[in-house]
């Protein structure tokens, strides 16, 4: 039995999707096309002399060992941000879902960080860890741990991961909470009567039913870690020490907006675009198979 509604008219579906198409064309395809075009040129900052150089910008990028290293840095950063962001948010959502009194207050407070601009998140965390007067740096020294994100690459990475995760937790939290609330209580009650422990109930009922939400958030979080985090890096570490926190998107931002190398920056954003498209395709092809809708 065919359940779908079919349009009889030929042009009506096109008219209906036209606004959405217009938005995508203007705000995605046009800039993406510009980036592709710019990545093939070599211009001075003012664009007064312009030369077509083919794939020269890409060749230069991949001949630079530090650029190749930043793939590794980006993989670690994105992995850490996505996994810890999802885990902590899920934990908070499960907790908040159980709270009866004052639930509104908890939920509102947990959503606040999302309203923060990335650069502010970076500065906030930087100040807490600033040596020697930052609150957390001071507390760590009291327990005998010397925090030094200026020269220790691992500390610097931890700092930007914390800032990036903190900022994204609210978003993940909201979706997880909505997901949890849509799970029918009868299922959980039935399992409880059968004698399943809370741990067992979570892993065999709640978590599988949440999988569409988790999958969606995984895609969103990876895209977030790849694209939206340059302001955090800029505010907290400038990509240092050395190049230890110089993730791909930070270099795109730095080369384009600080160093005025628009063509080099465009070439990098094309590379980044390819990576994210590939990752998303892979996720939909393989990870999605494990999702129960």
């Amino acid at each position: 039995m065919e359940k779908r509604v079919l349009f009889k008219s030929v042009w009506l579906p096109w008219v209906l999707i036209a606004p959405q198409m217009a938005v995508i064309l203007v705000f995605f395809f046009w800039p993406a096309g510009q980036a592709l075009y710019q990545s093939l040129l070599l211009e001075d900052a003012f664009g007064s002399s312009s030369e077509f150089v083919g794939l020269e910008n890409f060749r230069r990028l991949f001949a630079d060992p530090s650029y190749l290293e930043s793939f590794y840095t980006t993989a670690i950063f994105s992995g850490l941000v996505a996994v810890s962001g999802l885990t902590i948010a899920l934990l908070l959502a499960v907790m908040a879902n159980r709270v009866v009194r004052g639930a509104g207050i908890y939920k509102t407070l947990l959503i606040w960080p999302y309203a923060t601009a990335p650069v502010v998140a970076g500065v906030l965390w930087l100040m807490m860890f600033a040596s020697p007067y930052g609150v957390l740096a001071y507390a760590l020294r009291e327990v005998g741990f010397e925090w030094d994100h200026v020269l220790n690459g691992n500390h610097a990475m931890a700092l930007i991961v914390m800032a990036a995760v903190w900022k994204q937790i609210s978003y993940n939290f909201l979706f997880f909470l909505a997901g949890l609330q849509s799970i029918p209580h009868s299922l959980i009650e039935a399992a409880t009567i059968d004698g399943a422990s809370p741990w067992k109930r979570f892993w065999s009922i709640v978590f599988p039913l949440l999988s569409p939400t988790t999958f969606f958030l995984l895609v969103i979080n990876i895209v977030y870690a790849f694209f939206d985090t340059f302001a955090i890096v800029d505010a907290a570490t400038h990509g240092g020490p050395g190049k230890d926190t110089s993730i791909l998107v930070y270099k795109v931002y730095y080369d384009g907006f600080k160093a005025l190398d628009i063509n080099g920056s465009a070439a990098q954003s094309v590379v980044l675009m390819v990576i994210v498209i590939t990752l998303t395709v892979v996720q939909f092809k393989f990870v999605e198979k494990k999702v129960n809708y």
């Binding site: 003012f46 990509g239 020490p241």
Partner: protein
């Protein structure tokens, strides 16, 4: 009724049109001076606007130096560039190489018919912004130079003479050791590593930072800061870092705050830090000359400038250029330039403003404020005139990255400098290629 009203408006407008064309010529000025310096810029514009009736300068704060430059380039590409743009010294080569985006200040002044004498400006300052043919390209607005800041209270506590700052690097190490022995956690630090420890270091010792007279001689310049003298200096700093005498506080001017707060006892940094320390520092504050190695021939020579200059953008109307010229000649007036110098700690722009400040007894009343001037008002050599390179922002970042490897002990000074030269030269080649046609 309605009709009569619109007719009246029309009639009024017939009068208002010619009025509008006689009104003031407005000039947009984009700058990067925040806080107290922002007030200074606004006061300059206000006083200039009040001093005459024909022109009106409107200053707009556009964020940090790199942000306002990016904004202006975007505006230029869209055909909306401001009239005057403040550009930091590392952007100078980019502005100079831009074809048709700017109008040389020398030309603006000449066409305006106002009296203009390039010789009136302090050579070490104006020389940086002058083309090989002697044409002044941008107006030297706010120039600083690296000096040695020290905390007199910390010196006293360590048993050092607070009136005698160390003048050589061996003396700095000795003073740092004494400060450390007295319990100081951060005896010495520095901001702007490349500017203070390599660019100024090179000029101060009269050696090249880059070939072709540090980029003044052409776009085919290449970096040269990996000589034995440079390696020796970075090795010295690395040893000081190992023993806790030098504490690295991060890139750009991150170290400034640690000196102002009293956390670090000695710091090399911009002379323009003066205003911030006198306002917020709660300790006896002293300024000394930049340290040098006494066994190097020709040291100390002079230091290089930092800060920014004002560029006139192209494609504006003749009367707007007249307005720009009259504003620049206002800024060059001895009394205006002297007041700016004394208020901000930036270098005096003209020789007359320096003499005026000297005569007024300002340097005697504020000891240390003359250090930057005496470091700069010297006859410069081809090696010490300054450093003017393309893609300079990237080169400085590369130096930060490589030297951070030295401070944390994962790279040798020689290796770090060699790599920085190699990576920096790629940037220079790229700039040369992008600007050749």
């Amino acid at each position: 009724m309605k009709h009569r009203f619109s007719a009246a408006t029309l009639a009024a407008c017939a009068f208002c049109l010619p009025l509008a064309s006689q009104a003031q010529t407005e000039v947009q000025w984009w700058h990067s001076m925040g806080g107290a310096l922002g007030e200074w810029v606004n006061d300059l514009a206000k006083d200039f606007n009040a001093s005459q009736k024909d022109y009106k300068i409107t200053p707009t704060f556009k964020g940090s130096y790199d942000e306002s430059m990016t904004a202006a380039i975007a505006a230029y590409r869209a055909g909306n560039a401001p009239h005057i743009l403040q550009v930091f010294e590392v952007g100078t080569a980019t502005m100079m190489a831009s074809k048709g985006a700017i109008k040389p200040v020398g030309e603006v002044m000449k066409q305006s018919g106002l009296p203009f004498d390039p010789g009136a400006y302090v050579p070490a300052v104006a020389g940086y912004y002058t083309a090989p043919n002697g044409q002044m390209l941008s107006f030297p607005f706010n120039s600083s130079t690296p000096v040695f800041h020290y905390n007199k209270d910390a010196f006293k506590a360590a048993g050092l003479d607070p009136e005698k700052p160390p003048t050589t690097w061996p003396e700095v190490a000795l003073a740092a050791a004494k400060l450390k022995a007295s319990g100081h956690k951060c005896p010495f630090t520095t901001s702007w590593i490349s500017w203070t420890q390599l660019e100024s270091f090179s000029a101060w010792h009269n050696v090249l930072y880059a070939t072709k007279n540090n980029g003044f001689g052409g776009l085919d310049t290449r970096l040269a800061f990996n000589t034995p003298l440079h390696v020796r200096h970075i090795e010295n700093l690395a040893n000081m870092a190992k023993t806790g005498l030098f504490v690295y506080k991060g890139r750009n001017n991150a170290a400034d705050a640690t000196f102002v707060s009293g956390e670090c006892a000695m710091a090399t940094g911009s002379s323009a830090l003066y205003g911030s320390v006198t306002r917020n520092g709660k300790f006896g504050y002293g300024i000394g000359t930049l340290p040098y190695y006494p066994d190097v021939q020709g040291a100390p020579q002079n230091t290089v400038i930092g800060g920014a200059s004002l560029w006139a953008m192209s494609g504006k109307k003749p009367e707007e250029y007249k307005a720009i010229a009259s504003f620049f000649s206002y800024l060059s007036k001895p009394e205006v330039a002297a007041a700016s110098h004394q208020r901000t700690g930036y270098l005096p722009v003209t020789k007359a403003s320096f003499e005026m400040t000297d005569k007024s007894g300002f340097y005697k009343k504020n000891p240390g404020t003359d250090v930057s001037v005496t470091q700069m008002i010297r006859k410069t050599t081809d090696k010490s005139r300054g450093v003017r390179l393309g893609n300079f922002v990237q080169i400085r970042t590369i130096i930060d990255e490589e030297l951070e490897g030295v401070w944390k002990g994962s790279k040798t000074p020689k290796d770090a400098l060699d790599t920085a030269v190699k990576r920096g030269n790629e940037q220079l080649e790229r700039f040369q290629k992008a600007n050749k046609s």
